[in-house]
Every structure is written in C-alpha cells, then in structure tokens.
Symmetry: C2
Subunit: 140 residues, 2 copies
C-alpha cells in the first residue's frame, strides 16, 4: 500500500437528530459510504452513549472512517482517511447528504508525502464550506 | 459531553520497523496512550496486513485515537482526537517517543466550535515539526 493518502475532516451541522442517535443506522451508513468509495471494510467499532450520541469507526484496508455525534445539537464530527486510489470525497458527500446536514465544513489534508530526506509529512489541500448545496472555498 | 475537541494529526518518520509491525504492541501502546491522557477506553479494532503493516483504532468516550503503519518505511500516520478536558498532546508525545520516531509533523485542529448561527466548524491551531527533540512552529 502506498503511503500517500487523503484525509477529509468534516464537521456537519443541522443533521437529523434521530439519525445521529441511531447506532445501527450510523454503522450501516459508514460501511455503505466506505463501499461507495470502493474501500474494503475490515472491522467496525461503534458505541452508543447514555443518554445520547454515538461514536464509531470503520477500519478499511485503505485507513479509516470515523463519526462522533451530538444529536442534541444536530452535530456530527467525521473523518474520512483513505490511502491509494480511493477518493474519500465520495464517502464524505454521501454521508452529509444522508444525515440531512444543512452546513458542512471540510478540510482536505494530503498525508504520507515523503521528502527527499525521507521525512513523511502532511499538508492542507483545501478548506471548504457548503451551505444547502452551495460550495465555497475558504482558502485563498 | 461538550462538542469542543482537539484533534492532532501526526505523521511520524524514522520509527522502529519491528514495533510498527507488531499488532499486540501497538494495541497496548495506543490504549496506554489514551489512559495517560486520562481518556476512557471503550472499544478497540486492530488489523494486521499481509505482508506487513497495522491499522488500528481505539474508541474512547472522548472520541478516538488511530494508527496506520508502514514498517517498510518506518512511517506511522496517527490521529488523536479528544473532546472535553482531555489533552491529546500527552498521548501524542508518548506514542512518538515509544515508537522511536526521529521526525514528527503535527497539525492541531480545534473541532466542534459553534458560531452564533449554530454552525459547527473546525480550524487549524498550530502546525509543528520536531526533529530529534527540537520543536519548530511552522505557522506564522
């Protein structure tokens, strides 16, 4: 597996609270998202909090997807990190749409790039926000 | 649980290859790192690749820690995401030291900050590199 990867950090607002509190739904959603991005699912670990909220991770052969939810605020914090030729944007957009997010902020980070001296590093590629389908780049 | 969290993205170079290929060692290391940061471990999911490399996630009540390793390159890609009063830096520095990393790049991101309009978002707080214990800020 190549070291180069793409990592999308996504904070999603205005999501449907009942979906954010449904562990089975979220596990299926993230596994589906991984498969839509042509990733191979290896392992899942989800947890439901009392009184509400879910944390979950899907380990894929190309890295991982994760979600943490606050149903009381309609807020979900997500990460989509994939290596090789997998494009995490597909998974990202699918999950935001399914959760009925009204505002999404994403930062895309290139990971695992190596310098001539053999130092592995990462850098920010883009910072974007999307309001009801309207996309705006926040980087100059 | 508060929505505000800190997420440290870490790429570590020059790590000991035999450690990066040892699933049991890495699982114990990440669980220890979480506990040193006073986080509560809920669930773990680790996978060993053929011929080499490990992916693993520790779900904590305050979010998650993850690791993906390339022993053949001495490279590990890590994430430490914690909410509430937990400081991920403790876990981060412990893991880098234990893996015998010689160069580490970290980006610290504040997550789950809410605007007056109720939009949840994230922003980069710092970008740093460390070479053999010498720390350098890469942000102006």
């Amino acid at each position: 597996m190549r070291t180069e990867g793409k990592h999308i950090i996504m904070d999603a607002s205005g999501c449907a609270p009942e979906l954010l509190n449904d562990l089975d739904y979220l596990r299926t959603l993230l596994v589906d998202a991984a498969r839509r991005a042509n990733a191979t699912v290896l392992n899942v670990a989800f947890h439901h909090f009392t009184p509400q909220g879910v944390s979950g991770v899907v380990v894929i052969s190309e890295s991982h997807l994760s979600i943490h939810t606050w149903p009381e605020f309609g807020y979900a914090a997500l990460d989509f990190y994939t290596c090789g030729d997998i494009d995490p944007k597909v998974a990202c957009e699918y999950v935001a749409k399914e959760l009925k997010a009204t505002y999404v902020k994403t930062t895309e980070i290139a990971r695992g790039e190596v310098s001539e001296e053999g130092k592995y590093s990462h850098k920010t590629l883009s910072v974007k926000e999307k309001v009801y389908g309207e996309e705006l780049s926040l980087l100059p």
